[in-house]
């Protein structure tokens, strides 16, 4: 059975690893050894072939005394452990389970609790490190921590659990491998405190933008993306789901860029091949779109730059030198840009994430949208959308059903017996405006009955 790179960990792919502290980090299986810092290290090849979502424990060979010595010299990172998949656990959960905790609990009031700090813990950090190296699984580790903490029974159930979870995160050596989907990428950026990079957009806002934009495998979408490729990746995922070779699906994305070269760093994590991206995604700068050249001008420029070349002759050639091919490519790209800039009423949706002044922008580019199709704008703030709505869209008969929307996901601490919404949340996830481009009928063209 070959490895399905969409569902299973494969070679040479970006992957996301969830650590015991619940943080998401990005790695690449191209790396021979993946180092997780204090959580250990392991060989990439050990995890390849297992389904995404698998949890692995890192174990060190018991007889590896050399490793012990190295550790004491502070060089333990050099010898990776063995990543063992948890094959029998369908839940594949990194969280600490109630089974481990329940034996050690009592619910006495915390009235008598006087926090004596860490002095009360009989097991020293060095002891714990030792236990760790001696191939102790996390649950055993925790039992040890509990029975060696003299103060543990005095804590309330809640502080016991908090304490255990803290210790667990500090000492356990396991990790979960997730596919680098847009959803997991977002978690990664959130954990990195890097949401500014994607304009503070939340999963629920991008989800709503995708639905309102009516994304389908065969649609053609006009997009501005100031999220470094995150929006594009999210659209691609809905359309193709990671599969590049399904001939029944042939939608495209046309990206309007602010700069000459598109800035879509995050797209690399999508694991799509360059070939596929080249086929599916077209780039055009605001200048090329809105101040287009015409064919004569391009031909003239071609002549000016390559004084002695005739483009028609070049095009007619059956075989071209690399230099000739580059020149043909340049010409053909200019031609395709001109074509795009002339394609009115074409796109199935206009999907915008941009910090440009919106009235002006929508006024200039909405002509490319097919009548009856949606225009969906994301903005971190509400005010620019209100301005777009009141000062442009609602004054213009070419737009229908103008709505400003906000969606917000409220996650819960989902532990039975202590369920409540998370106490704090970051960012507000932004705002959306949606409307439909329509065709205005001149009132004078209508017969009076």
């Amino acid at each position: 059975m070959a490895i399905d790179p969409i569902t299973h960990i494969s070679f040479d792919k970006y992957i996301i690893i969830q650590l015991p502290n619940e943080l998401y980090k990005i790695y690449n299986t191209f790396t021979e050894v993946i180092g997780l810092g204090k959580y250990g290290s392991f060989y990439s090849k050990d995890i390849v072939g297992y389904p995404y979502g698998t949890v692995f424990d890192i174990e060190y060979e018991e007889n590896d005394t050399e490793d012990q010595n190295k550790k004491q010299k502070g060089k333990k990172e050099e010898t990776p452990g063995v990543a063992i998949p948890r094959k029998d656990d369908t839940a594949q959960s990194l969280e600490i389970t109630d089974d481990i905790l329940s034996n050690n609990f009592n619910s006495e009031s915390n009235r008598l609790l006087i926090d004596q700090g860490s002095s009360i813990q009989k097991l020293s950090n060095e002891d714990i490190e030792l236990l760790k190296e001696q191939n102790t699984r996390a649950d055993k580790l925790i039992s040890n921590i509990i029975s060696n903490n003299g103060n543990f029974q005095l804590k309330t159930k809640q502080s016991q659990q908090k304490y255990l979870i803290r210790k667990f995160r500090k000492f356990s050596k396991c990790f979960k491998v997730e596919r680098c989907t847009p959803q997991n990428l977002l978690k990664f950026l959130m954990d990195k405190n890097d949401l500014l990079r994607i304009n503070d957009i939340s999963l629920e806002s991008i989800a709503l933008q995708l639905n309102l934009s009516n994304i389908q495998p065969n649609g053609n979408y006009l997009v501005m993306d100031e999220t470094g490729g995150f929006l594009i990746y999210s659209i691609l995922e809905r359309m193709y789901g990671g599969k590049e070779d399904d001939e029944t699906k042939n939608g495209t994305i046309t990206i309007i860029t602010e700069t000459e070269h598109p800035q879509l760093d995050l797209l690399k994590y999508s694991n799509y091949s360059d070939e596929f991206l080249k086929k599916t995604i077209k780039y055009i700068s605001v200048m090329e779109l809105l101040k287009p050249q015409n064919e004569e001008f391009v031909r003239a420029e071609f002549l000016r730059i390559n004084e002695d070349l005739n483009i028609n002759e070049l095009l007619a050639l059956k075989e071209r030198s690399p230099l000739q091919q580059r020149k043909v490519n340049w010409f053909e790209r200019q031609m395709s840009l001109i074509k795009i800039s002339n394609t009115v009423d074409y796109y199935d949706a206009l999907v915008l994430q941009t910090d440009f002044e919106l009235k002006e922008l929508v006024d200039r580019i909405s002509k490319y949208v097919k009548p009856g199709s949606p225009i969906v704008v994301f903005c971190k703030f509400r005010e620019p959308l209100l301005d777009l709505s009141n000062e442009y869209l609602m004054k213009n008969l070419n737009f229908l059903n103008v709505k400003i929307l906000q969606t917000s996901c409220r996650p819960y601490q989902t532990k039975r017996g202590k369920i409540h919404p998370l106490m704090t949340m970051k960012s507000n996830g932004g705002w959306l405006l949606s409307c439909i481009k329509v065709i205005y009928q001149d009132i004078n063209s209508v017969d009076k009955e």
């Binding site: 297992y50 389904p51 709503l208 481009k437 017969d447």
Partner: protein
């Protein structure tokens, strides 16, 4: 029968197409177009033949006679939210003679517009929730999705657009038949693909069954192995259905699969979590989605100086009033000595009220008048207004993942 999901280049409304007629924000009507068809709206009757042949997105307008306008106006009073749409020239309402222009728009159906057009048959999963569910379950064009129950079919449309195959189950027979008919009309039934009635299996991908999945599980005659990646359970007791997912012919066995349970009450969530844990699901997380609709409005800018002016004006008029009153008395006495009172009655009345007529008062905020929002005689600022009735809760969403059987691929 027109395909529900279409992205073809041609954008022309054809006979037998299913279109959505947009009459107002709260009135979107699905219509299948026939040469002889007629569509009655508050803006008058439109012939289907007026719509066929137009581009999608077209406005179709007509001049109404005053009678129709009146109906429209009465309707407008009830539904203030709609007043800006569908009728131009409202400011001329008082001149009954002139013909008014009313219009509709013809739109391609999308799952989201379709949801808005539904009469609230059963609890509908709205776009705020459904978009999040789609994203969170990581549904892509490769996913096989299980949905129970079908309900209004609103969510089925959204899933169908995005996913590979959709297996949807409804235990209420009448509702199942209703939904099946709709899917068929919309070109979404997988059976039609099998029967060769349509050739796009990306679009025709719904398999619907009449079934109580809690009692009878998910296996169906049509396929041997459902091989589902994602499950959405909108059932009163999802915990009764969860164990039925363990049949190896239901879920894809060797990959991470996802479930979402949709329950309005908290206690249902608690039981659901219990069942998920018992059946080996992990990464259990419950969330709520709170969606809000806003619209741009205008708010009058009232200057405090104008308010002061109004009061100064009133005071002046009151002071004026006292002397005017003497003048009034004098005039009255003079008039009573003559015969012809009528001619000057207007002047008298004016004096009698001790004030200048209302339309000559300084009235910067249009007090006592019907001021249209945005009237150019006044100053306005932009405000964002939330919908008047907020959907503050739909349901709790409980998500979980599972890998049934971990084996290594090589």
């Amino acid at each position: 029968q027109g395909a529900f999901v279409h992205t073809d280049y041609e954008n022309i409304v054809k006979e037998n197409d299913l279109v959505l007629v947009y009459i107002s924000k709260t009135n979107i009507r699905p219509v299948v177009l026939h040469k002889e068809g007629r569509l009655n709206t508050k803006y008058g009757t439109f012939l289907h033949s007026e719509i066929i042949g137009k581009q999608y997105g077209s406005q179709i307008g007509k001049f109404l006679n005053s009678n129709q306008v009146n109906r429209g106006k009465r309707h407008n009073k009830k539904n203030k939210d709609e007043k800006k749409e569908g009728e131009v020239g409202e400011e001329n309402n008082d001149e009954e003679d002139e013909k008014k222009f009313g219009f509709i728009h013809v739109l391609k159906p999308t799952p989201e517009l379709w949801t808005l057009s539904l009469p609230h048959r059963t609890q509908i999963v709205y776009t705020f929730d459904s978009s999040y569910i789609t994203e969170r379950l990581q549904i892509t064009s490769l996913s096989n999705v299980i949905e129970a129950g079908t309900g209004s079919g609103s969510l089925s449309h959204q899933f169908s657009r995005t996913c590979g195959k959709l297996f949807t189950y409804e235990f209420h027979e009448v509702r199942k038949q209703q939904a099946e008919l709709e899917f068929q009309q919309h070109g979404l039934l997988y059976q039609d693909y099998l029967d060769g009635k349509t050739d796009d299996k990306n679009v025709a991908n719904i398999i619907i069954n009449h079934r109580d999945v809690c009692k009878d599980g998910f296996l169906i005659d049509q396929v041997e192995n459902i091989n589902a990646d994602c499950v959405f359970l909108d059932l009163p007791a999802p915990w009764e259905a969860i164990p039925n997912l363990n049949d190896p012919r239901v879920m894809n066995q060797n990959k991470q699969v996802r479930v979402c349970c949709f329950s309005p009450c908290f206690e249902q969530v608690d039981k659901t979590i219990e069942a998920l844990e018992l059946n080996g699901w992990g990464s259990i997380e419950m969330v709520e989605i709170q969606g809000r609709n806003f619209e741009g409005r205008k708010r009058m800018v009232k200057s405090i100086d104008d308010a002061i002016k109004v009061l100064c004006d009133q005071k002046e008029r009151r002071n004026l009033g006292a002397s005017n009153y003497r003048k009034y008395k004098k005039v009255r006495n003079e008039l009573q000595e003559k015969d012809g009172i009528n001619d000057d009655e207007h002047d008298l009345k004016r004096l009698k009220t001790n004030s200048i007529p209302a339309d000559q008062k300084f009235n910067p905020f249009g007090k006592g008048m019907r001021v249209k929002e945005g009237d150019e005689k006044y100053e306005w600022s932009n405000v964002c207004k939330i919908e008047s009735e907020i959907k503050s809760h739909t349901s709790y969403l409980t998500f979980a993942t599972k890998i049934f059987n971990i084996t290594r691929q090589e």
